[in-house]
């Protein structure tokens, strides 16, 4: 984590940038060794995390800044992503998925993120705004049978 990110991205808090970022993360996850199903889940988690920053952090304002940093780690292979913003900062304990029994629109984003990633944690940035760190490990491949 101390080394520089493999990829750093800065976007504005406008929904039209969700797709460019998630296809990039999808490609990066595939590079890391995730299968297509996992790449789909990882880009969904990414999209939900960014959408939350746009909706809750920046209240729908389109000119907020969002920084994304991604690292591909080796042995063990994993993908780490950090998302930072300068929007409204909230107590991380208030960020939780809704009760799935409660069928209503909304409240699914955090559930998708927690379901997909092996680690995810929100914190308030010292300089204002939020910081979300997510990590997902590539499942170990089945050992090759001896020939």
């Amino acid at each position: 984590m101390s080394r520089d990110p493999d990829i750093s991205i800065r976007i504005f808090s406008a929904p039209e940038f969700l797709r460019p970022v998630r296809v990039m993360v999808d490609a990066l996850a595939s590079q890391c060794g995730f299968d297509d199903h996992s790449c789909g889940l990882i880009s969904l988690a990414m999209d939900e995390a960014l959408a939350n920053v746009m909706r809750h952090g920046y209240k729908g304002q389109r000119d907020g800044r969002i920084w994304i940093s991604a690292w591909t780690h080796e042995s063990p292979d994993s993908l780490e992503v950090v998302i930072e913003d300068l929007g409204v900062s909230v107590d991380p304990r208030t960020i939780r998925g809704r009760d799935l029994e409660d069928v209503r629109p909304g409240g699914l984003g955090v559930h998708f993120i927690r379901h997909t990633m092996d680690e995810c944690s929100w914190e308030q940035r010292p300089g204002g705004g939020m910081r979300l760190r997510m990590l997902k490990m590539v499942p170990a491949a089945a050992p090759e049978p001896p020939r």
């Binding site: 797709r19 746009m54 629109p105 998708f112």
Partner: protein, 113 residues
């Protein structure tokens, strides 16, 4: 700016079939929501959403469909989804909302459902 999501509308007897084309995320779910609401305002006995041309859907898309389902329950009309792509299906499965919906494998099956 280009419209990267469009919705096609067709009528089969008294059933309305909507076919959204494109990825449905927070940038596009409001326009899908508006289209569905305007169709539901006419209270057709059955609405089919053919998702064959939707490779991706996030929670805002799912929320839109949940809202449509709630409206159809209030209207005592039917709502059937069909042709879910693998990624859309897996988002639905994780949301555990998949049991709430009536889902058909094909458009024909949806029309008969």
């Amino acid at each position: 700016m280009a419209k990267t999501m469009t919705v096609e509308q067709a009528t089969e007897g008294s059933t309305v079939v909507l076919t959204p084309k494109g990825e449905i995320d927070m940038a596009h779910s409001p326009s899908l929501q508006k289209t569905i609401a305007s169709v539901q305002a006419e209270k057709p006995p059955k609405l089919v959403l053919d998702l064959s041309a939707v490779p991706y859907m996030d929670s805002s898309g799912i929320a839109t469909l949940v809202e449509a389902l709630q409206t159809s329950m209030r209207n005592k009309s039917k709502l059937v989804l069909c042709n879910l792509s693998p990624r859309v299906r897996s988002a639905f499965e994780i949301s555990r909302l998949i049991q709430m919906f009536s889902i058909a494998e094909s458009r024909d099956a949806a029309l008969k459902a």
